[in-house]
Structures are given as structure tokens and as C-alpha cells.
Amino acid sequence: IIIFHFHVYSKTINSKIEVLRSQQIEIKGKITDVKGNAIFGASILEKGTNNATLSNINGEFEIKIKDKNSVLIINFLGFEQQNIKILEKKYIEIILIEDTTQLDEIVVVGYGSKKKTEVTGAITTVSTKDAKDRAVSDAAQLLQGKVSGVNIVQNSGQPGNTNSSIRIRGVSSIDNNNDPLIIIDGVPGDFNDINPNDIKSLSVLKDAASASIYGSRASAGVIIIETKNSSKGLNLDYNFLYTITQPTRLPNMVNSWEHAQLRNEARQNVGLPEIYSDFDIKEFEYGLNRNRPNTDWYDTYFQTAALSSHYLNLRGGDKKYNFSSSLTYLDQEGVLKGTNTDKLSFRTRLNGKFWDDKIIFNLNIYGDEANTHELSSSTSTILSQLASNTPTTFVISDNGAPSFAGRHLYIEDIGGGIDNQRTSLRLQGSVTIKPIKNIKAKLLYSKNRFELDYQRLLPEFETAGSIDNSFEGSLQLSSLTKDWYQTNTNQLTATVDYNYKNKGHRASFLFGYERLERDFTYDRAFVNNLSNNLPIFDFGDPSTSFLTSRATSNATVSQFGRINYSYKYRYIFNFSMRRDGSSRFADGQKYGVFPSASLGWVVDKEKFMKNTDVFKLKLRASWGRLGNQNIYTAYAASDQLSVTEFYSFGGNIVPGSGTTVLANPDTTWETTEQTDIGFDMKLYGKVTINFDYYRKTTSDILARITIPSSLGVTTLPYQNIGNMLNEGFDLDIGYKSKPNPDGLEFTINSNISYLHNEVTSLGNDLDFVDHASTNSEFGVLRSQVGSSFASFFGYKTDGLLQISDFTWQNNSDLSIPHEQRNYLLKSGITDQSSVMSNPAPGDIKLVDTNGDNIITSDDKTIIGRSIPKINYGFNINFAYKNWSLRLIGQGVAGAQAYVNGPGVGPFWNVGNGSVSRELATNRWTFENQNTSFARLYEDKVRDALVSDYNIYDADYFRMKNVTLSYSFNQQLLEKFRIKKLNVFATAENLFTITNFLDGYDPERDYRNTRGNFHPQIATMSLGFNLSF
């Protein structure tokens, strides 16, 4: 650090020393920002001369000037220029103010960067300054609530599962990948690969013109992540965070004795015999018999958990080289007992410049290793089982054996469970050559290796049966499973840039070539009956062993180009084109071409607007075409013959084969076209308004539509079938108060977006596609022409059937007690007995939508929407002296969710699951007829009825983050040779306002049509950021 300093100084002083000898006034000073942070490297120029210097690491400078009337011009990138008259001062303190009027910040675009003025598409760059004092393990959460047009759903708070789903401007594919393309330092990756602290900038490319340079992978939008670069000098940052986490909401179920009574009631309601005697119910209530318990399963399985994280970053460099290297360690306990994850990640960037900066080398190495422990079944399985458990089941019986429901924690105690080790290593190297001025050629090669090792060890144990288990006690065999997943991705990118400048005309040209290949392998080994409770196959019974492998390989090849032209930064034009080839499609379908064009007009640069700082305006328009080849099969054009169709003859296992997937050689690209019109406005240098209207149409949507199962396969092949429309607007409004270093300052950024999604056609023959990639979605989600993607499909209801809708014996003789009446629907009330056996008062009343006076499956219709109409968010920062407070809020409106299944529907699937306190209290009974909750039942047929009775308003507003931080005074810190110290307290998901179903989180993947998934977590943390 000292050497570097000295070097700069000596150069400055040497070159000027002759001129300055005659008359010298020595001025000293210090340059800081409004917060008092020293600014390093600001230039200080004596006006009208070549006399200049730079501020040192502490912001200090000294300069010798000619006379006291000289003016010093202070400049630092990103800050407003200041002119200071010296007069009699010998020491001056200069506070630089961040330049907010200047729109000329650099924006990251595909394969390059641009001045913000030259941007003609809808690109939002998000500040990630908050990363260091937030308790987020997933970088995607940094985006949540901050960008209009982007809907982020944190799918769960499960440790190690950081896969938030991100939808940019709706969905454009039916059951393919709608995830945006994520580019990290020029190479595709995902949010798992990046530590939030390492991110320098996150840019969201929303419109087609911005994204189309990525062609066939960009139809769901692109997010470009740039990682932190090096800085000058030598810096060391250390961030620490300690967090406690809790589930946001958990279901509240009834007690065991209530469960027993209610289940008897539910069974009587549908004419089934009672189960529990009064004696049983008393036993549950008195709690004297350990086998007649009152178990709160959520209480049993959930806990308050802790998380701690450490982040260390060392960076530095000078003009010729720089580096940045970081190490992160995260240790997270799950709110589900027994689950935890620890993750170590590292990241190193090295840059070196040679031959007068004509050749630049860059090396990046980064990777991580995460170890996740889960209970003996996957967390999602456990959660679905938890919902199915009843309070009448014990965890551990009086003889020490667990119930089937309680086995997971027991297995954990005796040494079983699931261990996942996820390792990723990314190596990246590039060389950039600038042979002559204005030409830049870059070659980038990257190799990513991803591995997931999965191990599941189940020791042998016995379960005990319980009164409520239809499953009696049994012996669980020991077993060992190991899975190895490996993905290798290689990418080669070559680009050439040419810049042209002449009198206000500026043009740049980009040409590129890219190759990408991805190989995937999966291997599994399994054995039963281990003689020893160790994860070693040799201890297993070889006759039970099983081996299997899968492998796929796919590749894309692309050529692309882009032309930017601007005239005096006033008129801007962009054109780009990409041609992609994909191995997933058959010959003749392999290639797709994706062009785009965009225009910008910077109105305030026009003469008639000149000299106004009050009003800045840019108008933008763009159009582009994008593709999607990201289907879940690598070989759409081949019949797939499974070779694991084992059979047995004479007691010997023999291999067998059979066609499991039919080929569709016509499969080709999905194509999305998007038009975007928008403006960026700035008023009084304080208020910024960005608005975009867009219309996005997708055609040739690839979907797995139903085929006749008489073809002999049940896995559905992809077919290009439909068109979909996404239309809406995005609005971002920001306000920034005047700089006020000694008082209160604040900034507000808010955004709102509206989305209309509609399936516009599904080919000639089809009106709808059912979504059925998992069982729980089966029969609930449907994409139908004229409705929104993945709408809920089922029966409409009109409240509940009431006694007045029925007749009974002796001309509805009121003296007959309810339980002895044979209720029959009155004529005039639609007969629903064909889909619901013996409808009675308190059942949901189904609507005869087709008017044929009988309810059949033909009466099902679209009953709700899974895509919210409105997303909004805000981000407010207050600063007062050393204190700052940040609030991030986020919400959706016009959202609906279908929730049913165990724990939600009563006694789901014949007594799996209980009932919630909410349902128990409000259920329809003859004593409580004035309610919207149906009567209880235990009936699979009623369970299977999908109706709008189970559609809930899923609007919510969530206080995503609240952070209070304090920065220590630098003067104080200097004594300890510390540059910066910040302490903070932060809370994620602090509170949520919603009318959603009690006990369940409204922020959920639309496919979660059952109640049982890992709850979101709320966290409270303390931490600090320290810089040397």
C-alpha cells in the first residue's frame, strides 16, 4: 500500500516540480463523501493549469498553487464536480456529493456494458449494497420487491434449498422452464453459485431487445450478475451475521380428544360407523396413557433455529493488476428439527494487463461445497407426512418404538438420515486483445463442474402401531442409497467489438460466436439389509443390490451480432441478431434466428429543452424475438426405450426393455416476441420515474399434452402447440432527498407492475392442457384458451347446501331428528349426487354451469388464477448521522391459491390428517348453520372434488426486510487502523398482512396445491461489517 502511494505521488510531483518552484502556497485538505468516508483517488486540479494531484487513501491531499485566487477543481467519478476558491485557507475539507443528475452510469448489457443514456431497452440494475447486512442465503432474494415486472417467490425456507422461483414479466411456457437465464460474469449459472456478498451488480433484462442477444435461452428474461471486482490499494472486509429463524406461519390443529370426536362426527355425516368410543375420547383427554397422547406434530418437528455466516474478502491491485478473493462460510440450522446445512464458498478473480493494456488476462476460479443434512426422508416428504399425522398418534410408544408417523426423529437419533454434498467448481479464463484503438477482441473459456452426492442411510428398526394408524407396527429394513449427479458445462465465447466516433456520431459493433455443451450423468447404488450401521455397501446383502445410471448430453452453437448507433446521445438505435442451433431438436428443426431492434430518444438533449436540469426524459421503444429450447428432455426426436424393465423367470432377475417415451421429430423452438414502450424521467434531480408497457406473445409453446394412452406410453412427449400472451406495465418511482450529512436523508424506491396473462391458442384441436407433472397438481391446474396460464380448474360453488334445500321422510317432518332423516335434494336444486355421494345439508353446493340440471365433470370450469395480477414493492432508506434504517416491503395483489389436502380438507384421504382449529370452530353443524365452512366428512370422493371452495385469496403484503445499522466515526476507527465498522440488526419477513388460510404462507409456488410444504422463515439477526 505504501509503495503504491509513493509511486503516484512521486510521478505527480516530479512532472510539476519545475513549474511550481517560483511561487508556492501549500494547501492541504481532505475529501470525504457526505457520510464522512474518505474518498480515495479524487483528482484535484488547479484551474487553468496542468497542476494536479490525487487524494490518498485517507482522502487527504496536498497541493502547491500559484496564488490565493486559484480555483481547485475536484473530480471523482460518480460525484458532482466541485470548484473551490482557495482565498486564505490553508486547510480545506471538501465534501463530495454523489452525482444524481448524471445519467451516465454504466449499465451492464449482454456481452458488454453501455452508458445508461444509450440504453434503449427495459433494463433494471439493482443495488446490492444491502447484501452485506441482510440475512439472505439466496441472492435472488436481493431482487425481491425491488424490480417492477419481476415476481419472485421464495419457495421455502428450507436450509440448503435456495431455489426461489423468478418470473420476469409472467410466464411464456406451459410446462417448461420459465426460469430466466442467469449470467454470472459472462457465463450461465444459477443463484446457488453466487454468494450475495460477492455481487457487484444485478441487472434484469426484461424486454426482448435487451435479452435477444442471448437468443434461444432468453425467452424468460435474463439476469446478469457481475461479481465484485478488485479495487485499488489493499482492502480487507469481514462481515459477520448471527441469525435466529422461525417459521412464518404454522398450522394450528385440534387436540387429540377433539380430533376423535370430530372424526366420529365426520364419519357419521357420510354414514360410516364411528371409530372412537367415549372411553377412548376420555383417555385422550385425561392423558394418562402414553399410547393415547395429544401430539402437536408441528411442535414436535419444528424449532427455532440459528444461522451464522462469515464473509471474508481480500482485494487490491494497481494499474497493471488487481485481484479479489473471498471466502464465505454459512452454517444454518433448519426450522425443521434435524435439518441443517453448512456451505463454504470461495471466489477469486485475477486481472492483469500487458503491453500498454493491449492484452488483458482474466482468471476466475470459484466454487462451493455445501453439506446438507435432512431427516430420513426428503424434507418435502416429511412435510407431507406431517400434514397427514393426527394428534391421536404418539411419537414414541410406551415400549420405546416410534409410531410410523414419528419415525423420522427416531431414525435421526439412531444414526440415519440423508446427507447431500453439493460441490461446484467453476473455472473461467479470458483474454482480451485491443490491437488497435477502438477494436477489442475477447476470447472466454469456462468450465463448470457440478456434483451432488446424495446418501441415505436407514438403520433397521421397528415401528409400533397405534390406535389411529391403519399401518400396524412393522420392521423397517436397513438400507443404503447413494446417488451421484454430475454436470459438466463447457463454454467458449469469442467476441469482437468495434467502436466508431465522429462528431456526435457514435457507433459500436459486436460480433460473437459461442459454443456450449452440457453433459449430465447420474448413477445410483442401493443395498438392503446392512449388517452394520455404516454407509458402506460391503455391509449390505448383495442379492438386494441395485445399480442404475442415466446420462444425457446436449449442445448449442450460436452466432450473434449487435449494432448500436447514437447521434449526440440524443437519438439511439440498436439492432441485434442471434442464430442458435440446438442439439435437442431433429435435423431441420435445429436452428432458430432471433433478431431485435430498439430506439431511444433523449428528449432533454434536444435544443428546445436545453439548460433544463429540472426535467430529463428519455423515450424508448423496442421489439425483439426470443427462443426457448429449455425442455426437460435432451432427445425429443427419439423413441425412448427404458432398459430397466426387469422381470423374473425361474427366480432369476432378467433385464427387460420397453418404450416409455414416444418421439416427436417435429419438436422445435418456442418463440417469444416482445414489444416494449417506455420512458425514463427525472424531475428536479430528485424524482425518477421509469415506465414500460410491454406485450409479449409466445408461439409454438412446447407442452406435454395428453396423448391417447392407447399408444402405450404414459409419459407425454413435447409438442409445439400453443400461443400465450403476457401484457402489462412496469412502473418504478424513486425519490431521493437532498444531501444532508448532519441531518436526515432518505431515499424511496417503489415499484408496481401489472400483468395480464392469457393462453390465446393451443393449436387447432385443443382447448386446454392439464398440468400434471406431480400428483398433487393432477386435476387442479389447467391452461385453457382464453384463461390465464395454470388456472385452477374445478367446480364452482354457491355456498353450502342448507336444510331448506332438502326434503325428508313424511313430507319433511320436522319432528324427525336430523340424524334419522334421509335427506333428498328438492326438485329444482341441481342433483349433485353423481359426483358426491349422498349430499346433505352443510355440503358445498356445486353450480350447474352447463345448465343440464345435473352435476357432472362437464360442469367443471376455470375457477381461479394462479398468477397474481399485481406485484409491488418498496425500498426506503433513512440516514441520520451515523444511523441508517432500511425498509423493504413487497406484496402481491389479485392473487389466488388453491389449497387442499391433508390438514386442510378434513380427515383427508380417509383419516390421514386432522382438522385445523379454524375449521373445527367454524364448521357447519345443525347448531351452526350460518357459516361458510362446510360440514366435516371422511370421504375420498368429496376429497377429490376440486372446487372454488378451496380457493383462497393469496394477496399479501410482507415486510421483507428491516435493517437498522450504525457506522462508527472514522476518526475513532483510525486509531485502531480500521477503515469502516458497521453494526446492524436486521429482520427478514418481519410481518405479513394477508387474509390467506390460517397457518399457511401465501407466498408459495403455484404448484403447491396441497398445504404441506416447507414454511417460509422469519429471521432476526445481528451482525457487523468490518473493513481494514
Binding site: 368410543s277 407396527g473 441395485f546 425412448q640 425361474g650 402405450g712 355421494s837
Partner: protein
Amino acid sequence: CNDDKFLNREPIDFLSPDNFTVEKDIEYAVNGTYKAYISDREEPIKTDFIVDNGYYVGYQEMWKRIYNNETFFIEQKWARNYRTILRANTVLFYIDDIEMSEEKYNQFKGEAHFLRALAYFDLLEFYGAVPLRTKPESLAEKDKPLSSEDEILTFILNDLEVASTLLPVEYDMSERGRATKGAAFAIKARVYLYNKQFQNAIDNCQKVKDLGIYTLMDDFAGIFLPENEATNTEVIFDLQYETDQAVRNLSNFWYTRFVFWGGYQILQNLEEQFYSTNGLSINDPTNTLYDTSINSDIYSPSTKVKNENLYDNRFTNRDPRMYATIVVPYSFFRYKRDGVGNNADKEIYYPSSFRTANFSSFKARKYVDHSNNWVQNISGANPVIIRYADILLMEAEALVEMGSFNENYVVSLINQVRQRPSVMMPKVEDVEGTGLTQNRLREIIRHERRVEFALEGLRFHDIKRWDIGNQVLTDAKGYRPSRLQTRSATYELYSLETRTFNPSLGYKWPIPRTETDSNELIE
């Protein structure tokens, strides 16, 4: 060019059928066809739980007959059979391109024809007219009209005819389980009988007998246990499962479901069909052997039950097939863990302990292999598709239905089944006398089938063929389990689920909606 080469990625982990080159490819495709036929591991036993033998709440819509074209049970059977058909078609379509010995060629071809016939026969029985696909078809050929029941029937009979000429009579022990000539004749007899072509049914029964390799097993219970597979001379064709091969989907779960789950319930409707050892029905007032009093020795600790195979009075002196088919209250239902074969470790079935799931107080016993020793879903028991007793009773039924028959011969066929050494129920003539009418003989045969083949997946077809749905598809009856406690017992007969037979629904199932929605040639 170079890029095209880079983009040319061949599948790594699977073959396409058009890449078949060697005999093994065909052999595996044949094996895979068998696998397709067991791809629903509940078949064919599950259909007994939608009629009057059993009740399982998982099949409630089917049992209550409120199914529709979206009911999973109905889609599942359709898919299972067409999966088998596609694979058989694949074998038949590609086999001529591959070089192999004539012996293997005939065998593979015969097996494919046989399995395809089995699948179409199941479709014909449950759905009637269905699309007829005779070769592997692509997405472009997805639309296919229904072929009439007659066309399907003709096709099945032709497949079986071809199979019976190509298939060998027997295999080496290492190949046991493959389709044989006898299996083709036997299924053919069944197809003819179900379609009321009685003389053809009789002829094919005769062809099975003429092969001279099938006999009745002495031990009735042993027919259904894996330990007897190698020596089982009664089974003509069965589905192959192996113990502890769940990982390859080659184990079934009947042991688990019948022993450890309460949900699979046997109805009193079946229990009452097992006669007393005097050959009289328990509902026959003249049956003096049937005693409804309660034997106090059955109560816990039940030492006598465990040591002496004691049953409560009402369950003693009954057709021995009852004990091999169902578990009655206060009787042995499983061994304690590690106690297989050890009397001291028997566990007794007290219905009150199972009442949250079992409401009938009867459990299933057939296909329960206690050697699984408490481990779930690893059973290697082979569900029987057809066995020699069926040949005898089919022949008897066909003869009686033809109207002109030799009573002594018919009765002798029935007596063979009744009098296997482990059963030894009285001869027909000893109970019923001689000079029996056609109707009486018909009833005797129908009753014999009910008790002989319970839980073997045949009852649905019998009810349909005899059109007795309105008599038998009624309420599910059982004894109230809460009254059958460890130290007291009252047999309270009640309906645990009600049902009325709606004749307009018939016996045929609707074609699944997934098919009609996407196959545009089906209305």
C-alpha cells in the same frame, strides 16, 4: 459442417427400437412386455375389492360404483394393458429383422402374441369396444377409432391360436414363468367361456388336460406361497414376483396390505359363503354344525388359540379354504417378529384393536407370505392368472350351460376341486343327492368358484358373466369390531358401507377421459 457435428448428440442411456440388432434386444423386449403386464402390481387381485369379496377405501369410488371417466382406477387399467400391447407389438414388428434360432423365434413371437391377447382380453372385459393397435404407432397415428367387441374378440382368439402353436409345452426350470402352450389353451378356454362359446371352451379345457402336466395341488394354501413355486403343478400361468426386489419393482405388497394395513377388509358377504364341513351353508337352518355361541377360550391370552388352532365356535368346522383365504376374528393373523413357524409367537386378531381402519372384522390371508417377517412390500408371492382348478370348473360350467351334459362327469369335475386332500369337502352327490337340475348344478358351480377363487381377481368376471350384480353388489357387511374385544365378544352384523346396484351403469367401464380427449376418432 463442424457446428452440425457438435450439435449431433445421440442418446447415451437408451436405445430406440429401430436400433435393435441382436437376439438379446428382442429377448429384453419380450421380458419388458411381461413387466408391462405387472406394471400395476395390484392387478389382478384388486378387482376383488370392488365387488362383494372385499372392501378397500382406496377403491371407494369403484366399490360404490360412482366412478366416471376420470377415475384413476379406470385410467390405470387402460394404461397397463396398452403398455403391454405396445411392447408386444414392438416385439412382433421388429423380430423378423433379427437373426435367431427358430426355437427362440417361435417362443418370443408366441409370448408376444399371448401377452397381447391377455391385455386385449382384459380391455374387452372391462371396457368392451376399444381401439385396436396392432403395431407400434407414433404420435402421428394417435387417432384410432374403436373396434367392435367382435373384432377385438376375433383378434384375441387369433393371437391365442398363434401363441398356442408357437409356444413350447414346458421350459427349463430357469425359465419358469414364461407363457406356455397350456397357458394359451387355458386362456382361450376362458375367453370362449366368458363369451358363451361353450363347446370351444370345453375343447380348450380338454387340450389343457391332454398336455398331461397339470394336476391339483394337495395343499390348497400352498398354491399361493413362493416356497412352492418350483413344484407347483396346478398353476398354468402366473405373474412373477421375487422376495426383496422392491427396488426393481419386482416385489408386491399383499403381505403388507393384508397383514399390516387395516384398510383391505374382507366382507362377511364372503365369509358366509364358506360352508360347514357337512357341505351346508351357515345360513341353512338345517345346518346343525354351525354354532353361534362363543367359546370363552378364544379370549386373551388365547393360549388355546395359539397352541391348538382353536377358532370361535362359529368359525369351526368350516370349509378349510376359509382359513386359507381369510382371517376370522380371534384367530392367528401373523407371527411376532422372528417367530416364523413358532407357535408361541403367534399373534391373534382382535378386531377391536384394528377398528380405525378395519370395520368388517375380517382380514385377507391368501397370498400372505409370513416369511417376509414383518418387512413391508417385499413379497415374492405370484398372483395366479389361471390354474388347473379353473380348467375343471370352467369345463363343468360350460357343460352345464350347454344344457346337455353327463351329470356324473360334471359332478366329478367339481368333486376333484372340493376333494383335494387339504380341503376334503363332501362330494356334491353326498350333500345334494343326484339328478340335479341344470339350475342347481349351475348354483353349485358358481358357489364353488366363489370359495375356490376368492381374492384371485376372477369374481368381477363371474358376476358380469352371470349378470348377478343386482343380487350381490349390495351393502358391505361385517361384524362391528368394537364389540369383538380382547375379553368379550358380541357378533353384531352391520353394514359398514352401503351400496345399491344401478343396472343402467352396467358392468363396463367408461373409456378414460384422457383417451377420449386426445383420440379424435373416439366420440
